[in-house]
Symmetry: C2
Subunit: 347 residues, 2 copies
C-alpha cells in the first residue's frame, strides 16, 4: 500500500505528482449542497461524525484525490474555548469578541470542551471509511487554524479585510497578546495531537491571515508559535508530517520554513513558481499553488497555469494544490480537468 | 536649493533620510476634516484647485515632510472616462461597472474630459504655494493609479476584498481585458505627463491591488503596462523620477523593478527590511515601509519599528514612508513623533 502524498512529504520518490485541493469537500459540489440543505447550521455538519465523514469522502469518490482532508473548520478551537462561533449566511463567521488580557484569561480551557472529541471521532470514521471503500492510496489530513489566524477572528469577532483590531492590540500590548497566543498554541497542540491519535496521517496548520502582518510581527506571532507547535507534535508523532500554510508570507516563506521546522509548506498563488522552486522547495517539499480564480475561470489559461506549475515544481518533492480554497462557484468539471491533467502528466 | 527627496531618488547623497507618508494629507488631520465638512462631496475637494492646494500643504506646514503629494484620488482617471465615480460615506467608492469588450470600447477617451485640467491646475498652485510659503526643500509628487488597480475598481464597480470579477475576466478573456488595460495605460501616461508639465517633480504609480494577482498574471497585468508607462514618461521627462508601488508584490518586487524600469519602488510592510535591503534596494532606491497600524498604535513598538527600518535601509538610497496609507484614526502626535525620530536619526 503506497500513499504517494505521504511519500512526497517524506522526500521519497513517487510514481507521479500527488494532488489534493484546499476546500475540496465543500459548496462547489452538488452532493455537498444537498447535505448542507438538510442541516440546520454549518457547525452541525462539523460536529456530526457521520456527516463529516460523508462530506470528506465526496471529492475522493468523485475525483480520486491523493489525500482526503477532514471536513471541519478552523474555528472549532475558538468554539471549544467558549467564543460562541456561529455562521451567518452570506456574512461568514461571527464570534463573541475577546479583546483584553482579562477576556483571554477568562476563556474556557480547550481541554474542558467535549466538542473536539466529536472531531476525533470523525477522523476515526474517515480512516475506516477510506479503507472500507477501497481508497488504500488516499492519505488523511487533519488540520487546525494557527494561533495568529484564530486570534484574528477572536479579537475581531468575525472576518475582516485586514484584521486591524488584532494587529493593533499586538502592537499596543504584546504582553496581553502573548497570553492569547500561548493559550491558542496549547490548544492547537492538543487538538492536532488528538487528530493524529485518531488516525490523521498528516497535519496542516492554516495561518490564513499571516500576510496582513508586518515582517517583524510575522516572526513573533506566526513563526514563534508555529515552531512550538511543530516541536511538540514531532516529539509525540515523529512520523506524522506537519504542513504549514502561512498564506501571504511572501518573501518570508523561506524564513518560516527554516525557523518553524515544518515538514512541508503550502504556497499561495501570489508567489511565483520560479522563485519558490529556488527559494523554498530547496528547503522542504512544497504544495501549491494554482489560483482558485483560474480554476473557476477554466479554459485554456487553466491548462497553461497547471502545466507551468507542474514543470516548475516537479523536479523536487511536490504536491499539486491550490493557492487558497476552491471558490463555491467553481464548476466541478474544472476540478475534474485539473485532476486528469495532473494524473496524466509526465515530467 | 536642495530637495533631499529628489537627491535620494537620483541615487545622490543627502544630509539625512528624507520622509513623507502615504495619505499624509487626509482624514487623520483635524484641519482636513474641517475643510471636508464644508464640502458637499469628496470629489469636490479633488477638483477644486484652491482646496486641493490647501489640503496638500496642511501636513507640510504641520510636520515639514520632505515631499508633498498632490491631494487627489486614483479614481480621477475612471471618473474622467465616464465611470460616474462617487464616494459613499462608510462604503468607499462606487462606479458604474464596465465588464465586457463592448463596455470598454464605449468608455469616453480620457483626453476628452475637462476634469484632469483641474488637477493640473492644482499642481501648478501647489508648486507656487510651496515656494511662497518658504518650503524650498519640499518636492512635489504627482500620482496616478496603475492600469490593473483602476481596472479592478472599474470592473467590480467599487472596492472588494479580492477583486474576483476582474481577476476572473482576465483569465477568461485576456484579449478583452487587454483592451481595457491599454486604454488605461494611455490615460495614465497622459495624466502623469500633464502633472509633470504642470510642475510635479516626481510621479508615483499606485498599484494597490497588485498583490491579489497570481505571479504570472502579475507579469502580464502589472509589469507589462507599467513598463510601457515608465518608458513613455522617461522619453518626455527624463529628469522626473517615476516611483512604482505594486503593493503586495511579495517576492516579485525585484522582477517588477528590473522589468518596469521604475526609478524607485515603494515597499509595503509585508516584506522584511532585511530581505528587501538585499533583494530590492540593490536594484534601485526604495521607499517604505512602516506598518500604518504600528503608527496608529504608537508607543515603544513604534520607536522600535522606525529604528529598525532606518538601520536596515539607510546604507543605500532610502526614503522613509509607510507600507500603506495612514489610517484615519491615527493621532497626529504619532506622526509628529516619527517625523522627529527620522529627522534626528544619525546613521
Amino acid at each position: 500500500m503506497k500513499k504517494r502524498f505521504l511519500q512526497v512529504l517524506r522526500g521519497e520518490e513517487s510514481d507521479r505528482v500527488p494532488l489534493w485541493m484546499m476546500r475540496q469537500a465543500g459548496r462547489y459540489l452538488p452532493e455537498y449542497r444537498e447535505i448542507r440543505a438538510g442541516a440546520s447550521g454549518f457547525l452541525d455538519l462539523v460536529y456530526d461524525p457521520d456527516l463529516a465523514c460523508e462530506i470528506t469522502l465526496q471529492p475522493i469518490r468523485r475525483f480520486g484525490m491523493d489525500a482526503a482532508i477532514l471536513f471541519s473548520d478552523i474555528l472549532v478551537v475558538p468554539d471549544a474555548m467558549g467564543c460562541g462561533v456561529r455562521f451567518v449566511d452570506g456574512e461568514g463567521p461571527v464570534l463573541d469578541p475577546v479583546r483584553s488580557r482579562k477576556d483571554f484569561e477568562a476563556l474556557r480551557p480547550f481541554g474542558e470542551s467535549e466538542k473536539p472529541e466529536r472531531v476525533y471521532e470523525s477522523v476515526r470514521r474517515i480512516r475506516a471509511a477510506l479503507e472500507a471503500e477501497g481508497f488504500h492510496e488516499t492519505a488523511l489530513i487533519g488540520f487546525s487554524g494557527a494561533p495568529w489566524t484564530l486570534a484574528c477572528y477572536m479579537i475581531e469577532g468575525g472576518g475582516s479585510r485586514d484584521f486591524q483590531k488584532a494587529r493593533s492590540l499586538a502592537y499596543r500590548d504584546p504582553g496581553a497578546f502573548l497570553v492569547l497566543i500561548d493559550l491558542l498554541s496549547d490548544a492547537v497542540i492538543a487538538y492536532l495531537a488528538g487528530q493524529a491519535r485518531a488516525g490523521a496521517e498528516a497535519l496542516q496548520i492554516f495561518d490564513s491571515w499571516a500576510g496582513v502582518l508586518a515582517a517583524e510581527e510575522f516572526r513573533r506571532w506566526v513563526i514563534a508559535p508555529t515552531r512550538r507547535i511543530v516541536a511538540a507534535l514531532r516529539a509525540e508523532f515523529p512520523d506524522v508530517p506537519v504542513i504549514g500554510f502561512p498564506k501571504g508570507a511572501g518573501p518570508s516563506y523561506p524564513l518560516y520554513v527554516g525557523e518553524t521546522g515544518v515538514s512541508a509548506v503550502s504556497l499561495d498563488h501570489n508567489v511565483s513558481t520560479r522563485w519558490a522552486a529556488e527559494a523554498v522547495q530547496t528547503l522542504c517539499p512544497v504544495q501549491g499553488n494554482l489560483d482558485p480564480v483560474c480554476l473557476l475561470a477554466g479554459g485554456v489559461r487553466l491548462d497553461e497555469s497547471v502545466g507551468k506549475i507542474l514543470s516548475d515544481f516537479s523536479g523536487k518533492p511536490f504536491v499539486f494544490n491550490l493557492g487558497h480554497g476552491i471558490d463555491k462557484a467553481t464548476p466541478p468539471e474544472h476540478v475534474q480537468r485539473v485532476v486528469e491533467y495532473v494524473q496524466n502528466w509526465q515530467n
